[in-house]
């Protein structure tokens, strides 16, 4: 009997220790089962999931048309968005998501989704480097860490290739919106970072802003004399000729090298406005079509 009690004591110590460890250390997020029903409210989130082999249960309407989405998402339900709430909460809840990959643009809606008990993570990169980090983060979330690492490695290689052989660094004024008061993209915006990576020098007048956009004086435009003007106007392909003409005839910019050289471009696909996974392809397009470097 004494021998039995001693053996029990010897065996119970490690058991108790194990029990204590289990109680104090609940399973981490990485160990938890990956979410199965994911809604992606950004092209970046949706396309990253597809590239990792995960099909979301819902995606959102997006700026610049649905062609920014992978063809593999054709049959996925598309949620309309409205500002500043994002998707309709009833439509979203009907999809019963475990996880929503959202954007800071829908900040108000993100809180409401959280109130519904839906896990919401903001995944919308503002620069190329953070797109790598966020790809890895999404990979970790959906239990595809190694695929994400391979994807990021391929993306980095492709971006490096797209940036190879830059010969000229023209001054680029990248503007958002229409009218005589457009906002200028700053280096901490998605488009600003892509243009810089493509070899352009952004015209900013030395302005910094956490939003990534500011309305800068036309006096600075005249003084810094952009070689290229690229506008992101939220318009359609049909509008390109009239918008180009409108920018060309802006008296304030008439003497700039961009206007005199006819280097005014309109980007309507919004690949410069909202992050996507097609980073290297966009850099190549910026170099080939806009910067000619």
């Amino acid at each position: 009997m004494r021998r039995f009690i001693r053996r029990m004591r010897e065996q119970s110590t490690p058991l108790a220790a194990l029990l204590l460890v289990a109680l104090l250390c609940p399973p981490s997020a990485a160990q938890a089962a990956p979410p199965k029903r994911i809604v992606a409210l950004t092209p970046f989130g949706a396309n990253t999931l597809v590239k990792l082999g995960v099909e979301p249960v819902g995606i959102s309407q997006t700026l610049g048309g649905q062609e920014r989405f992978s063809p593999k998402l054709e049959d996925v339900e598309v949620l309309p968005l409205s500002h500043p709430n994002g998707p309709n909460l009833e439509q979203l809840a009907a999809l019963d998501p475990d996880l929503v990959l959202s954007s800071p643009t829908w900040a108000k809606g993100n809180d409401s989704m959280g109130d519904l008990g839906i896990r919401v993570l903001v995944r919308e990169p503002r620069n190329v480097n953070s797109s790598f980090a966020q790809t890895l983060a999404i990979g970790g979330l959906v239990g595809k860490r190694s695929q994400a690492e391979r994807l990021v490695k391929a993306m980095k290689k492709d971006v490096a290739k797209a940036r190879r052989g830059i010969e000229r660094r023209p001054t680029v004024m990248l503007i958002l919106g229409v009218g005589r008061t457009p906002f200028t993209f700053l280096p901490n915006s998605w488009g600003g970072d892509l243009v810089t990576k493509a070899g352009g020098r952004l015209l900013t007048g030395g302005v910094e802003s956490s939003s990534g956009f500011e309305r800068i004086s036309d006096e600075v435009v005249v003084a810094e004399d952009p070689d290229v003007i690229v506008a992101v106007p939220h318009a359609n392909e049909d509008d390109i000729p009239s918008l180009t003409e409108y920018l060309r005839t802006n008296p304030a910019w008439a003497t700039t090298s961009a206007v005199r050289g006819g280097r005014i471009h309109i980007s309507v696909d919004n690949s410069l406005l909202q992050a996507g996974t097609e980073v290297a392809r966009t850099i190549r397009k910026v170099r080939r079509v806009y910067l000619e470097n």
């Binding site: 229409v178 008061t181 500011e214 939220h234 008296p251």
Partner: protein
């Protein structure tokens, strides 16, 4: 009389200071001697000449014309409707112009060059709707009817504008400057299209100065002196509509100026005579807008901000000080 002269002199001094500041200050430092040389036609060429000639000069002129137009529009409307709260908002112009501009910006961005025309057209359309309702049926042309019709039409266009902004939220940033009110550096282009409306509005206002003074004695007295109160009121509304719609086409929605400037000059001059209030409002409005615009483009240079809030910052303390003294 001496007080009025003094106020006029002060307004002219403020106007001169605002014009000098508007031409001399900006995001890029241009020596004052160079500014003078450019204005005298002796510029040295290059970016500095272009900045003064193509950007600052037209913008200063726009500020003066729009400021004067809104000051006059407020003065004649307040006189014609005998209502201290009257401004171009009351006859629906601001709401209509706002809708016209936002419609172009949001729904037809490819036709953005038509923005001034769109603002002008819908501003005048809104005013025409107000006139049509206010000058028909019983009590046609009465002050209450004009104001109520104006508020109804303003609400209608404001709702339509809000609907457009909600339907295309991603395009809303382009509309911010128009809604908040701001001048642009678009050379003489817009002024070349819009100037006939300003000219007609100014001419009409000039003709109304004496009739408005007679109307201030009351409809019955004005009628006994040979005036036609309803016709004077209609003329004032048409003139204000032309001036306010043309202003909105150039500088967006700057309703505050038309409301406050006439009160300020009335209180400062100690008289409601339109012979004094109308020209003084023109000078005061021009000075206020030119000064506000200079602040808006230099305070955080090279970032440009909407001018509306700056005019409020400049105008409200003066207004409240005068109001306290008047009470």
């Amino acid at each position: 009389m001496a007080r009025r002269t003094l106020v006029f002199a002060a307004l002219l001094a403020a106007l001169a200071a605002a014009v000098v500041a508007s031409l001399a200050l900006g995001a890029v430092k241009v020596p004052f001697s160079e500014v003078i040389d450019v204005l005298l036609g002796n510029g040295s060429g290059g970016p500095e000449q272009q900045i003064v000639e193509t950007l600052r000069l037209p913008r200063t002129v726009e500020a003066l014309v729009v400021g004067a137009a809104l000051g006059i529009a407020g003065a004649i409307l307040q006189g014609a409707l005998a209502n201290p709260l009257a401004s171009p908002d009351v006859i629906g112009v601001t709401g209509g112009a706002g809708f016209g501009a936002i419609l172009i910006i949001i729904a037809f961005p490819g036709s953005i060059a038509l923005l001034p025309v769109g603002a002008l057209f819908f501003g005048l359309l809104a005013a025409a709707l107000v006139f049509a309702f206010a000058w028909s049926g019983a009590n046609r042309g009465s002050v209450g009817k004009v104001i109520l019709a104006g508020i109804a039409v303003l609400s209608l266009f404001t709702a339509a504008t809000t609907g457009l902004l909600a339907a295309y939220p991603e395009r809303a940033p382009s509309a911010i400057f128009f809604i908040a009110g701001g001048l642009t550096s678009s050379g003489w282009d817009e002024m070349q299209t819009i100037w006939p409306y300003f000219a007609a509005g100014f001419a009409c206002a000039l003709l109304l100065i004496r009739p408005l003074d007679r109307l201030a004695l009351g409809d019955d007295v004005a009628a006994s002196l040979g005036s036609r109160p309803h016709l004077i009121r209609l003329g004032a509304a048409v003139s204000a509509a032309l001036l306010a719609a043309a202003s909105a086409a150039i500088a967006g929605l700057l309703g505050f100026l038309g409301l406050v400037v006439p009160h300020v000059v009335r209180m400062a001059g100690g008289t409601s005579s339109h012979t004094f209030v109308v020209p003084a409002s023109a000078i005061g409005g021009a000075a206020l807008l030119a000064a506000g615009d200079t602040l808006a483009r230099t305070l955080r240079a090279p970032i440009e901000m909407p001018v509306g809030p700056f005019m409020v910052v400049l105008g409200v303390p003066l207004f409240l000080w005068l109001l306290r003294k008047a009470v």
